[in-house]
């Protein structure tokens, strides 16, 4: 039987885990969110905030976009639609697409590896394990 302290402790643990995970996957998450179409900052922020593990703050998003732009992974253009205020739209560059493909492959590999370990630890049949390329 769980005590209330256990539940709080688990919530705390999950929160810390999510923070660490978010830090490690930020580039992948941003690049993935931009893969289909150009997106401006506020729309991108709201898109990411729909999921607990990708929810980041404004103060994290904008400097990160600035860094990705300096690294040549995204490009940005100011677009004005009708009478609305100009917005800065970000889109992937060719280098950004290559980086996204590499990070996505690494991510899937990590998930498969961890799944295999978890399955082996719990005594279930091991998942199919691909060798890293």
């Amino acid at each position: 039987m769980f005590e209330q302290g256990d539940v709080v402790g688990q919530d705390d643990l999950r929160e810390k885990w999510q923070i660490q995970l978010r830090k490690g996957t930020l580039d992948l998450v941003i690049l993935a969110a931009l893969q289909d179409r150009p997106v401006y900052g506020l729309a991108l922020l709201r898109q990411l905030q729909r999921f607990p593990t990708t929810a980041i703050s404004e103060g994290t998003l904008y400097p990160l976009l600035d860094r990705l732009k300096r690294d040549g992974l995204v490009s940005a253009d100011w677009v004005q639609e009708g009478d609305s205020r100009p917005r800065k739209y970000y889109q992937l560059t060719a280098d950004g697409r290559l980086k996204l493909a590499a990070l996505a492959q690494a991510w899937r590999q990590s998930v498969a590896d961890i799944d295999a370990l978890l399955a082996a630890t719990t005594g279930a049949a091991p998942a199919r394990h691909r060798k890293p390329t």
Binding site: G41, L42, S57, E58, G59, Y62, P63, D66, R67, R70, R85, P86, R87, K88
Partner: protein
């Protein structure tokens, strides 16, 4: 109506802290953050919601911390190679010398031009630009007596010309010093 005063205060502080960025880059950061904030404000007003401005700004962190993230790459950059610190110290010393020399030289010329314009107003017969060497050269001087055997070429036009030259020189010096200042840190 939602008060925009905290946003204006935030943006002023942010702009001041982005001073180390290239001005065009800093303007773009300001424009983007302002655009974001105004979008959120307008959407809240359209929906008739009472927006918590402080909570909105909290998402960006303090203006100092936000600016620090934008300028971090200037301060850190790539890891320095071995011996780089010595090279960097020499570079900073040279830059510092150049900075103060440039400041003294540029502002002295600017001040000289401004004084020349003032002197032309106060003592028009003793200050001027004279044609000399049979028209092969021009002498700009503030002499004890009027130039005897030469013709003054610009007359009172020397005042606006000297003023414009002085201001241009001061502005040019200010811009060069701004660039050099980045190399001092």
């Amino acid at each position: 109506m939602i008060s925009r005063e905290p946003i204006q205060t935030y943006m002023r502080t942010l702009a001041a802290r982005l001073g180390r960025l290239d001005p065009a880059d800093a303007d773009e950061v300001i424009l983007e953050i302002e655009s974001h904030l105004q979008d959120v404000l307008e959407q809240a007003e359209v929906r008739g919601e009472d927006l918590d401005i402080d909570a909105l700004l909290q998402g960006f962190g303090s203006p100092e911390a936000l600016a620090a993230q934008y300028v971090a790459h200037i301060q850190t950059g790539a890891p320095p190679p071995a011996g780089f610190r010595v090279i960097q110290r020499v570079r900073q010393t040279v830059t510092r010398g150049l900075y103060y020399s440039m400041a003294a030289f540029g502002y002295a010329i600017a001040l000289g031009c401004l004084l020349l314009a003032l002197a032309k107003v106060l003592q028009p017969s003793l200050v001027g630009a004279w044609s000399a060497n049979d028209g092969n050269s021009v002498v700009v001087a503030w002499s004890g007596s009027p130039h005897p055997a030469a013709q003054e070429v610009v007359g009172y036009w020397l005042v606006p010309i000297a003023l414009a030259a002085g201001l241009w020189c001061a502005e040019l010096t200010r811009r060069v010093l701004r660039v050099l200042r980045r190399g001092l840190s």
